[in-house]
Amino acid sequence: MWNYIVRRLLYNIPVYLGIILILMALLRFGAADPAYTFLGKNADPGDLEKIRHQLGLDKPFFVQYVQFLWEVLTLNFEQESWGRPGRTVGEMLSTAYIPTLLITVPGLMITATISICVGLISAFNRGRLADRTLMVLAVVGMSVSFLVYIIVGQYYGAFQLKEWVGTEIFAIEGFDLEENGFIAGWLTYCALPVIISVIVAMGYDTRFYRAVMVEESSKDYMVTAKAKGAGRRKVMFVHMLKNAMIPIITRVMTTLPFLIVGSVLLEYYFNIPGMGNRLLGAIFDKDFPVIQAFTAIFAVVFILSNILTDVLYALVDPRVRLQ
């Protein structure tokens, strides 16, 4: 297995170099000149050149590319952010991933758990009222925009709820895990965004898992299990679920890299100082060092999660061999 992992890692080096190359080229040749953003409406032609020089944009592209790769290789993210003077890229990113993970990880776990259970129930009751009701709810849930959930959720779940009960259950916005302790802080500031993200993701995931379970339920081993007298619960949670693990792992693992990106909309509306918030700010500011560092990290996580997915396949399904 270790041979396989090392080999996959080596194979991915050119892919990684290509990702960074494309990103840097797109930023430099496909987007507007950041010097204009930097100087604003009173940009002076002479100052534009100076700013390009100070930002290192006048260096040959290859030199910029190698310099950045060296920074990634040495994990040196000490370059000053262009958009937030006085802060390094490392500081910008290191303080942002925790708030994001506090939203996305519980969101993923809750969504996956509930969706798999609902998918199982739905598949087991295929064609019956319970199945049809659950699927109608899933489709309705999918059809409503994420933005609507956020706006309505923030209004009723935070503002109106406070008006009704007279005390703040969920905060309208903000992020503070210190004032009242971690648990209370998380419940106040993170629980509502998590609930919203779960509701939004449930529709998609439930339909997906149902489809997986339906496919499994028609296989011979299910008939055999039932014929041998296995109980309904055992058939569902032991036989069917175990055999459905490959698509479940695929689904969960492909989501994994996106956990660090966070949800831009959720973070914007709920004022959560996470990665999505920061990345979008960096894009608006044309803050190349932050965008590049973020993408470099994201690409690493993406590649690693792909490899990990393969490893997990082998662990849950003995028929899969890593070669």
């Binding site: 507007a32 000149d33 950041p34 204009y36 953003t37 930097f38 100087l39 604003g40 409406k41 009173n42 940009a43 002076d44 032609p45 100052d47 534009l48 100076k50 700013i51 100070q54 000053e80 958009g83 937030r84 003077p85 006085g86 802060r87 303080t95 942002a96 706006i151 923030q154 209004y155 935070a158 503002f159 406070k162 008006e163 905060a171 309208i172 916005e173 903000g174 992020f175 503070d176 210190e178 004032e179 914007y268 509306y269 709920f270 004022n271 100082p273 918030n277 920061r278 500011d285 044309k286």
Partner: protein
């Protein structure tokens, strides 16, 4: 809502205790912060859309930077808080307004004595020292230093004798491996003694007086810049009313500067100010609030809800909440808000929102009657009133010319009109002009490239423009792009016809007229690439003139010259609506300057 860390609150309380031990600080305090800070006056305010990027006046340029810098730093002059229409300057760090010699270029300044920088580790023993004349020049020289990455050199460019040459020489020396020497004197900057200095301008330029109130010219101590290096952006040390306490991604908080100079609430109340100003505030030592907490709101809904729940002292009214707050027909505040004691205030902005032609473009540019006729057809087919009702809740002022309401030279009649043929919608006349241009009903006219910066509703606005011009047979090729791409296209003179907005940097029409001054052509701010020798001559003449009837008359002539050449289609100026909590006192909203937080007060009995 962003909340400061507990330790910060504790520090603030400790500070209030310290304040209570410093009776000299407040001449007539409304509350006496006792031990434990029971009576600490705290206020929460919003910062909408974005956050400050820096609290270094040398590097800042945005409204948000301005708001943060204005808390911590002082300028030589400041806007008189209660005086509007017209705005008036008054001394801040100076004892009196600067005196201009008869030559019109030599200005003499006298600093107030005893103004000290906030206590900070950068000073020996952590004790802030007195601000002296050298600090002023040092702060301005930072704008010349490439290492500062300053964005506001344009304020000084070609203005002070020898300053441009100093900039070039010092940056060249730094580039060659030497250093940017702040001790090298500049010919036009003369220190007389610690509290007196002179500036010699390259030519009489009246706008210089406005520059002295801009936050970019705030005074910073050299020790702090050298002590903090790149971190100075986040470690401000000024002489302003507040000190930075905490700055996170969600907000920033400031606490009262215990060594702030002696300044009192103004007594020159204007008409209507009695309803705004708390009786107890009159003549009170500034700042009044002990602690100010800003939250950054990138989205409007959370800001609006925080105001609704009574946390924020005021809010701008987002477009989507306009009809919640106001009756759409009467524009009056809805009774639900009136019952809560909330008051509304409209703030007219010094806006120039317009559609500009590239006067050097082969199709839409040029000065021949046919070319002017084409542009006039476009202008007359454009209905800004429809934009007003569709996108601005009928809250913008549609006007002729480039001079916004409130400034000398603005057409001050009821309809803001400068002439009968300057503005649409007049489809019949537009068609006539289009025929005069050689394109009857648009026949033979190629599609016009219309450049638009991508923002909230700009695609819809571009669609409306296309539909309106389509009525006379003109087709647009709409090109949406981000703002910097638009600027780049304008700088390269590639943008044929484009949507643009200009907010006046200071309340003088000179700032707007400069957009049509020949030497400012792209890549300068004259993106129309407008050329008119007579206009340029008058512009140069008015630059040295103080406000007067004669200057206003010249402004009007210049305005009408550009209107006659139909160099742009316009104009609109937004009015921003504010809602203010009943407990927030002394708030007279403006977006022209931002050092007004020191005047605010809260009436705790109403807040409870």
């Amino acid at each position: 809502m962003w909340k400061p860390q507990r330790s910060i609150v504790v520090r603030a309380l400790a500070l209030s205790t310290a304040l209570s031990l410093a009776p000299a600080l407040t001449a007539a305090p409304t509350t006496d912060p006792g031990p434990g800070g029971k009576d600490l006056k705290v206020i929460q305010l919003p910062l909408r859309s974005d956050a400050p990027k820096t609290i270094d006046p040398g590097r800042g340029s945005t409204t948000y930077d301005n708001r943060a810098c204005s808390m911590v730093y002082d300028t030589l002059l400041q806007y008189s808080y209660l005086q509007r229409d017209p705005f008036v300057l008054e001394p801040a760090l100076l004892t009196k307004m600067p005196i201009c010699a008869e030559d019109g270029v030599t200005w003499t300044f006298q600093l107030k004595k005893g103004i000290v920088f906030q206590d900070n580790d950068c000073f020996p023993g952590g004790k802030g020292r007195e601000l002296v004349a050298e600090d002023v020049f040092y702060s301005w020289k930072r704008q010349a230093d490439d290492a500062t990455k300053a964005k506001s050199w344009w304020l000084y460019k070609d203005t002070i004798v020898g300053f441009d040459a100093y900039r070039d020489a010092q940056n060249a020396a730094a580039k060659a491996g030497g250093k940017f020497d702040y001790d090298v004197p500049v010919e036009g900057m003369k220190v007389i003694d610690d509290h007196n200095f002179q500036i010699v301008l390259t030519e009489p330029v009246y706008r210089f007086i406005w520059v002295l109130a801009m936050f970019q010219t705030s005074v910073v101590p050299r020790e702090a810049v050298e002590h903090y290096g790149n971190r100075f952006s986040r470690n401000p040390v000024g002489t302003g009313p507040y000190m930075l306490d905490e700055w996170t991604d969600l907000g920033m908080s400031f606490v009262r500067n215990p060594t702030y100079r002696e300044e009192f609430f103004p007594t020159n109340l204007q008409e209507g100010d009695d309803a705004i100003v708390a009786e107890s505030s009159k003549g009170q030592r500034l700042p009044i609030i002990d602690r100010v907490e800003y939250t950054f709101y990138k989205k409007d809904q959370p800001m609006w809800l925080r105001f609704e729940e009574g946390t924020l002292g005021y809010t701008q009214v987002p477009a989507e909440n306009y009809e919640t707050a106001f009756n759409r027909r009467t524009k009056k505040l809805n009774s639900a808000y009136k019952r809560r004691g909330i008051v509304a205030a409209d703030v007219p902005l010094l806006d120039f929102i317009f559609r500009q032609f590239n006067m050097q473009d082969e199709l839409v540019g040029g000065y021949t009657p046919e070319k002017v006729a084409l542009r006039r057809a476009i202008i007359l087919a454009t209905d800004f009133d429809e934009f007003n009702s569709s996108f601005y809740n009928d809250k913008v002022i549609v006007y002729d010319g480039m001079i916004p309401p409130g400034l000398d030279g603005h057409p001050n009649n009821e309809e803001h009109r400068a002439g009968p043929e300057y503005r649409g919608k007049n489809i019949a006349l537009a068609k006539e002009y289009l025929a005069k241009a050689g394109y009857p009903n648009g026949e033979g006219l190629p599609k016009i490239d219309y450049y638009v910066a991508n923002s909230a509703n700009s695609p819809e606005q571009a669609d409306l423009t296309a539909r309106q011009l389509g009525e006379i047979g003109i087709e647009l090729n709409v090109r949406m792009m981000d703002f910097s791409s638009l600027i780049e296209a304008c700088d390269n003179k590639k943008a044929q016809f484009f949507s643009f907005a200009w907010s006046s940097d200071y309340p003088d029409a000179e700032n707007n007229l400069a957009l049509f001054y020949g030497p400012n052509q792209s890549p300068g701010s004259n993106h129309a690439n407008y050329e008119n020798e007579e206009f340029d001559r008058l512009y140069e003449q008015t630059r040295s003139m103080e406000p007067s009837a004669k200057r206003t008359e010249i402004y009007i002539r210049m305005r009408d010259m550009v209107l006659d050449h139909a160099a742009f289609a316009g104009s609109m100026a937004r009015t921003r609506s504010y809602l203010i909590q009943p407990w927030l006192r002394n708030f007279k909203p403006t977006e022209q300057f931002y050092n007004w937080v020191k005047y605010l007060d809260v009436e705790e009995s109403l807040r409870e």
